[in-house]
């Protein structure tokens, strides 16, 4: 359920935090669901139990999860994932990747903007067609 890349420059505890939040966002974990214990998760993803424990503590501090003594750790019923913000960040990341790719292809910033404009124009043209209007461009 969580993918850990130990070679990544993101520390493993941060990857666990992001992974659990992503699972909540995708609806794979719902408020009130029980999370695996520190030991179980550390086994599952082959990570140091101290690291898992640190991630859980941070998630608890952010009120994403809550621990009920003697019963285990649960997704907090109050947690409202900030869908828009997270999706916005994802979009930004994707755009960045595209720009880097374009740079490797030898495109300048102006070329990329031109490409973007033509992409927008294409959409508009399609829309116009659907409405039965003539293409002005």
């Amino acid at each position: 359920m969580i993918n850990i890349d130990s070679r990544s420059s993101t520390p493993i505890y941060q990857q666990i935090i992001d992974g659990i939040k992503e699972n909540i966002l995708k609806g794979m974990l719902n408020p009130g669901d029980k999370l695996p214990s520190v030991r179980e998760l550390s086994s599952l993803i082959t990570a140091n139990p101290n690291t898992v424990s640190r991630a859980y503590m941070e998630l608890e501090r952010q009120k994403v999860i809550e621990t009920i003594r003697g019963r285990g750790t649960y997704v907090s019923s109050l947690y409202q994932p900030k869908m828009e913000e997270e999706r916005m960040n994802k979009l930004k990341d994707n755009l960045k990747k595209v720009i880097i790719e374009a740079h490797y292809l030898g495109l300048t910033k102006e070329d990329i903007i031109d490409l973007m404009n033509s992409a927008y124009n294409f959409d508009e043209a399609e829309e116009n067609k659907n409405f039965g209007k003539s293409d002005k461009r």
Binding site: N50, S53, K109
Partner: protein, 311 residues
């Protein structure tokens, strides 16, 4: 010694250091091998020691175990000086890089020897582990392969229920499945018993996944030690590209620990990748930058290549 306990999420966090190496120095007639080493290993943590061949890792391990005597300095296990201290030594399991057991013994006789030596030896634990590692207990040591001897050493030393487990290249000679099993067993040891684990290894990928703290050793000195999380948040590996050749020499900028150049793209290691540096580079005509993965191997190479402490 009273241990301060704070219970959170089923894990006991204790501030105490189970292994303390204080100003340890040792010289062989031909070479100074340990040069004022200072190290602290926290209880219940996994500590990785890395360094090139001949850096002094095995010597340090043997000094921690009091197999070799220090010229000066001190080593404490659980707060007690290790030198001539059987009580402190009883807490330690030691898996050596080469396992030289009595060749005429068979495994059953080795178990007997361990039971006599360590009061804490747990036969149930031995059987439990041997269901994973599958050693024929009537086989004599001389007829065991290198990997089988390593398995034996691991099982024996885990069966004494150690508080500190010191291992020198524990995965050498093990097949991939045995390696995976071993790592799982070590993680369970830490989760269930708060065992403190000290690993000296060249297998950086494995260490990167399981260690809390790593120390990089070279020429008898600790060049860099920090938690892996801190290493990865403080140091960044960044690719930078310029429109045209920048006026300032990127290689000579003091912000960069290491610079590599392929075509128009620079790959730099830095601890100061902030807005200030970014705007400085943009003035020089930087057209894009991208943070890329920084591995333990990168940090290791950089430390050893520089020769001096980077951080």
């Amino acid at each position: 010694m009273r241990l301060k306990k704070i219970k959170t999420l089923g894990k006991v966090i204790r501030g105490d250091n189970l292994i303390s190496v204080i100003n340890a120095s040792k010289a062989y007639p031909y070479k100074k091998v340990l040069n004022s080493i200072n190290l602290e290993v926290e209880e219940g943590s996994i500590f990785g020691l890395i360094g090139p061949n001949g850096a002094g890792k095995t010597t340090l391990v043997k000094c921690i175990l009091d197999i070799y005597k220090l010229d000066s300095g001190e080593i404490k296990i659980g707060g007690k000086n290790i030198s001539n201290n059987p009580e402190a030594k009883a807490l330690i399991g030691y898996v050596a890089d080469e396992n030289k057991y009595f060749a005429t013994f068979n495994i059953d006789e080795m178990i007997k020897l361990y039971r006599m030596t360590y009061k804490s030896f747990d036969m149930d634990r031995f059987n439990e582990l041997n269901r994973i590692f599958k050693l024929p207990t009537d086989r004599s040591i001389v007829r065991l392969s290198k990997g089988m001897k390593m398995r034996l050493s691991l099982i024996l030393n885990l069966s004494i229920r150690p508080q500190v487990l010191i291992m020198d290249e524990p995965t050498s000679g093990l097949d991939p499945i045995a390696r995976k099993n071993l790592i799982q067993i070590l993680l369970d040891e830490v989760a269930d018993r708060k065992t403190t684990i000290f690993i000296s290894s060249h297998n950086l990928g494995e260490l990167e996944r399981i260690c809390d703290t790593v120390a990089i050793m070279d020429e008898g000195q600790i060049k860099y030690t920090d938690s892996l999380d801190n290493m990865k948040t403080s140091m960044k590996k960044v690719q930078i590209a310029f429109k045209e050749e920048p006026k300032i020499k990127i290689e000579e900028m003091k912000e960069f620990i290491e610079v590599e150049k392929i075509g128009r793209i620079y790959t730099v290691l830095t601890k100061e990748f902030n807005n200030q540096l970014i705007s400085k580079l943009e003035k020089e005509g930087m057209v894009f930058y991208q943070e890329i993965n920084l591995t333990l191997e990168d940090i290791f190479m950089c430390c050893i290549a520089k020769g001096t402490g980077v951080m």
